[in-house]
Point group: C2
Chain length 679, copies 2
């Protein structure tokens, strides 16, 4: 027994402990089972021993996002008190056998930034209440030979890992700010940016997230912009129930096949089992179309164009990611029925243009408009158009929003038909239908595109606050009179800007330094900071500082109402230009297969001549996937091993050379197609 | 065998049949089990025989809303083809034994307005596919003595029922319009108004309804109005997940007790059983407050004011009613946390004023603001304020929207606390919290208040279309040139009004008469119809006709942009005035108990001096309930037997007489309290 343990037994000094979370290597399709290790601070817990005790492969210290997901705290804040009944069966729990030696010993446990003490007996009682199985481990023994690399390898790997981790850290990271580099550990960076930027918080139901005002405001701006424009097209908003009966959901087999494994089912209400189980909509085609059949009686009832803003549920078992892959998400879904194919297809393009407008005009994110291949289109529709975006940091494409022409496939299934206007003796006409949707995923794309190591960067048109006025240069020497004048001046600036519909606020906190204040607003993505200090007061000016590039503008107060909106608009424009330059530089024309994979691996998407044959598309995907060489460490980062999907056949088709061949096979090229690894 | 049956056997004439739906007398808390009777047209199906065969009490022909709910068609359109597997176990199905005599016979079945024929064998196959148990009944035998009234009684009752039914019909009801009188059969009237007025449609999951554009637009107007005002107060919108884990939901016992029997549970995703069952939020206190505890670190984080527009689910087993009692409904829920009690309670009143504003300024529905008694307040809160409305047609009060002060009850439970700003040595301060919500129920109250036997009446401020221009007076003698001029003139009026933000449309249908067109728009609640005919063209005017009272205004085209908005505003004001007069006339001061029940039975709510004691409130409720005398026929119409609840203690308290006593007991009166039967 160590001295520490001896003292602890006498209840003189509580014994320090540590709680660590490890993630084992996990198949891409499986949910990881984290391993929690509770040990004395002084106990070494080598990875091979953990692997052996937990029956898991290659455990490594888990990243923040996994810890957040399971324990709802940051990795360094996790403690045994984050364990609870719900985690039973979802995690492995290893306990240093030295801990439980003596029931009367007192332990010290880090809970967040505090230290709490408890006796071993108390901790045992708590752990029993969680029902989680305790695997007791003797960390002093050598691991079984099969799993045990020699000590030198372990030490070398450890040193390498430490070095790698250090390397992702930002040199001068502030406590409140982002602590990892966007280019080096994108996944942790993203998780920090969205949470510390107060866009979103992790929620205790896995795969669900809280949209905080900083992100929900972006969504509201999108809603306003889109509503105005679809209403001009004659689309009306409505609301259909979130529930679908099994019978109705399963009506369109092709369609539902893709969703069936992800449908959440309500089977009980209060303590009553429901006779028929009821699904939560994964999308609303089958919810809405029986009523379209009922409402559409004559060609005069066409077009029928309805849209709804709602939430849908797709219970994916893949690793969730804020905004990009979530089990519940907000979206709009438009569903329209037309008398003619032309009426329908015209609308498909109008809506796609609006989606591109949301990305480019509001979110300052460039997209490529195009059509999905047969392999990638919406099942049950005739064709799918799409806006495809690009995440430069990972070199992956991302589907932005889709507008589908369903042809008469659904109208025949649901009998949405009208008497032929040319006469009752002619065949009835089945309505030509479209559906189109855009989700809160757009917010994730926006964050990934513009934000940096200081935190969020929000485009001015969607930012909750566009400017914040803050008094600066006040110190102990500033007279009360001058302080008052500066504060009042700042408030006046705020009011004048609010009066011209600039979303302005003020930050008059006097308990923190200006530097801290600036960093705080930078973290949250404020587009323009307005500094107002003694010199500004004197010269009747204010200093505007842009979030994206730090550029400063001295604005005469007399010009406030015209200049500030100009600066905001300029920032908006330049954000888009910068992102477009990035996307353009990484959309590389590849005509020969030998260049395909290297170009892909250099974090590009690819524009290639392609034959249009589905099997060739599959072949491209397979041939561009990195084979697992057993060296991969991080299964969540799927990009490197993933093959290239077809992203879209762009609307803008450059001319072909004579006899241009497909990039992969020997057939003649039919289109330029954009390929890439993708979210 | 009858001649008809003989002919049918020869497949010469199909045998006419009928499908009828009956509703048995059902306990208030139970879901009714409808009885479907499929019989030859010529077979008499007396109620006692149905009762005996189905083992049910007092079956009566079901009303439209029940038939809609179960079979998704109007009562007179129901056929055996509306039966399906999902109804198995939910209905009783009686078949006239004469029908199945001969497999080869052909039957005629009314399907909607069409007649379809099928052989008995085909029908048997169809019915087998539904799995519904067939109870074969010989309707020619006399019912068992116990259940059998004498023939004369049956005949007399039948005649009386027929007469009563006839009496509710509207004399000159048009085919497309409302067919029953609001004052005589309110429940059927309401169901017709909301469906034929295209506010809503019944949905195939019971208790859920589709909000069509005509109602959703009202909701959008409410959202815009309310958002603008709460944002001025510093409230921000956000979105929290719809799912709650069992553990979190059950955290606040008092609070959840009221909701537990109505919570819908997701237990399965795809084909996987979930390890932990997940609830769909019935309200979001327990969803949000753990995060409030996390986000609120210092007094500078207060007040935290968040609102969300979402849908919640309360799986009630009571009879659902469009807008008023639905299993999923849209609402907003605001949840705020404050440093001081004063800050919180000030907001409670500000929000209540906004709720009253939605009712009065937007929906033209008068409300009484007040406080709920301890019996009726929100469980877990300190006090509840409310807007109480009144449905004149039934004489019942209706809770309009509530704004609760939660005190520190929840903040103590969830540990939402901050360090005392007066010093770390003082006790920490638990946040003072409010929650407040307003749901789509408001739309139902609006419909019930203003609409009439012609259909919906929509207040101009919330109507999807405020005016519709329609050419009139065109007939076979009208020259093409004149037709063209009138149509173009109408279109010009439409455009001019749109340009000044009047929500205008045009109706240029030429396949229906003007009368039909007028009736169609009246049904859908259009506030003002603009008729433009040859005389109007000539005199440069348009004729405006108000929906609510039919008053006509001749408007010079030169005055269009000023006069039409005036007429709309005048209608808005007068709708409110009229409804207020009604409410005022039916809010009767009662000081003596002997007058209480008679006043209540005369379809009034009551303002009485009251002692404030909970037991006395219970006593008032019991003593004002009509005892079941066995004569009641319609259990859904609960109003007549229901006791009077306390609706609120109005903010406006008239002075008391000296020594004013409680209306019910001998104690001294403490408040004027509003009592009434209620929704």
């Amino acid at each position: 027994m160590s001295l520490e343990q001896n003292l602890a037994e006498l209840s003189l000094t509580p014994l320090p402990t540590k709680t660590l979370v490890f993630k084992p290597k996990t198949a891409k399709t499986a949910t990881p089972v984290p391993i929690v290790v509770f040990a004395l601070q002084s106990t070494q817990t080598p990875s091979p021993l953990i692997a052996q005790a937990a029956g898991a492969k290659e455990p490594r210290l888990a990243k923040d996002d996994l810890v957040q997901e399971f324990f709802n705290v940051a990795a360094k804040e996790v403690s045994i008190y984050n364990l609870n009944k719900d985690l039973d069966g979802k995690i492995k729990f290893l306990v240093d056998q030295n801990i439980f030696n003596d029931e009367k010993a007192t332990l010290e446990i880090n809970v967040g930034s505090e230290k709490k003490t408890a006796t071993v007996a108390e901790i045992k009682t708590f752990l029993e209440s969680t029902s989680i199985e305790i695997i007791s481990v003797d960390f002093s023994v050598a691991p079984a030979p099969a799993a045990a690399p020699d000590a030198a390898t372990v030490a070398a790997k450890k040193a390498a890992a430490k070095k790698e981790k250090e390397a992702t850290k930002i040199e001068d990271a502030k406590l409140i700010g982002i602590t990892v580099d966007k280019t080096k550990d994108f996944s942790t960076w993203y998780s920090q940016v969205v949470t510390k930027g107060e866009m979103l918080d992790y929620y205790d139901v896995s795969g669900c997230y809280i949209l905080r005002p900083n992100s929900y405001h972006v969504w509201e701006q999108i809603q306003d912009w889109f509503n105005l424009r679809i209403k001009r097209l004659g689309v009306k908003n409505s609301y259909f129930p979130m529930f679908v009966s099994a019978k109705v959901l399963e009506k369109e087999k092709d369609h539902i096949e893709g969703f069936a494994p992800e449908v959440a089912w309500v089977t009980r209400a209060g303590s009553s089992e429901l006779e028929e189980h009821i699904a939560i909509r994964p999308t609303s085609e089958t919810v809405m179309y029986p009523y379209y059949a009922k409402w559409i009686r004559s060609h005069r009832d066409l077009p029928l164009r309805l849209n709804q803003w709602n939430s849908v549920v797709r219970w994916e078992f893949k690793h969730p990611q804020p905004f990009l892959r979530t089990r519940e998400f907000l979206w709009q879904e438009g569903h329209t029925a037309h008398l003619t194919r032309e009426g329908a297809t015209e609308e498909v393009d109008q809506i796609l243009d609006l989606y591109a407008g949301i990305y480019e005009e509001l979110l300052a994110v460039p997209v490529v408009k195009g059509t999905k291949t047969e392999n990638e289109k919406f099942a049950g529709g005739d064709y799918t158009t799409t806006c495809e975006g690009f995440i430069a940091a990972t070199g992956r494409g991302i589907q932005g929003a889709t507008s589908h022409h369903l042809g008469t496939n659904f109208s025949k299934m649901f009998n949405i038909s009208v008497e032929n206007p040319e006469g009752a003796d002619k065949d009835p006409i089945f309505a030509y239908q479209n559906s189109w949707g855009l989700s809160t995923r757009v917010i994730g794309v926006m964050v990934m595109t513009h934000s940096d190591n200081k935190g969020l960067v929000l485009p001015p048109r969607v930012a909750q606050y566009q400017v914040a006025v803050m008094p600066v240069g006040l110190n102990s020497k500033t007279s009360d009179e001058q302080k008052k004048a500066i504060n009042e001046g700042a408030e006046k600036i705020e009011k004048r800007l609010l009066a011209v519909d600039v979303r302005a606020t003020g930050d008059y906190r006097d308990n923190i330094t200006s530097g801290w204040k600036f960093a705080d607003w930078e973290l949250k993505g404020l587009p323009v900071r307005l500094e107002f200090g003694p010199k500004d007061l004197e010269k009747e000016q204010v200093t505007a500082v842009r979030r994206d590039d730090g550029s400063k503008y001295v604005v005469k107060l007399a010009d406030l109402e015209t200049r500030i909106p100009q600066i905001l608009e300029q920032m908006q424009t330049e954000l888009l230009e910068r992102a477009r330059k990035d996307f353009d530089a990484h959309r590389v024309v590849v005509e020969e297969w030998k260049d395909f994979v290297p170009t892909l691996n250099a974090k590009n998407v690819i524009l290639s001549p392609w034959c249009g044959v589905a099997e060739c598309e599959d072949d491209i995907k397979d041939s561009s996937a990195k084979k697992d060489n057993g060296e991969e460490e991080e299964v969540d980062e799927k990009a490197p091993s993933m093959g290239a999907k077809s992203l879209c056949i762009p609307k803008l088709q450059p001319p072909f050379k004579p006899n241009q061949k497909c990039v992969k096979c020997d057939l003649k090229a039919k289109y330029w197609c954009m390929f890439g690894r993708s979210y």
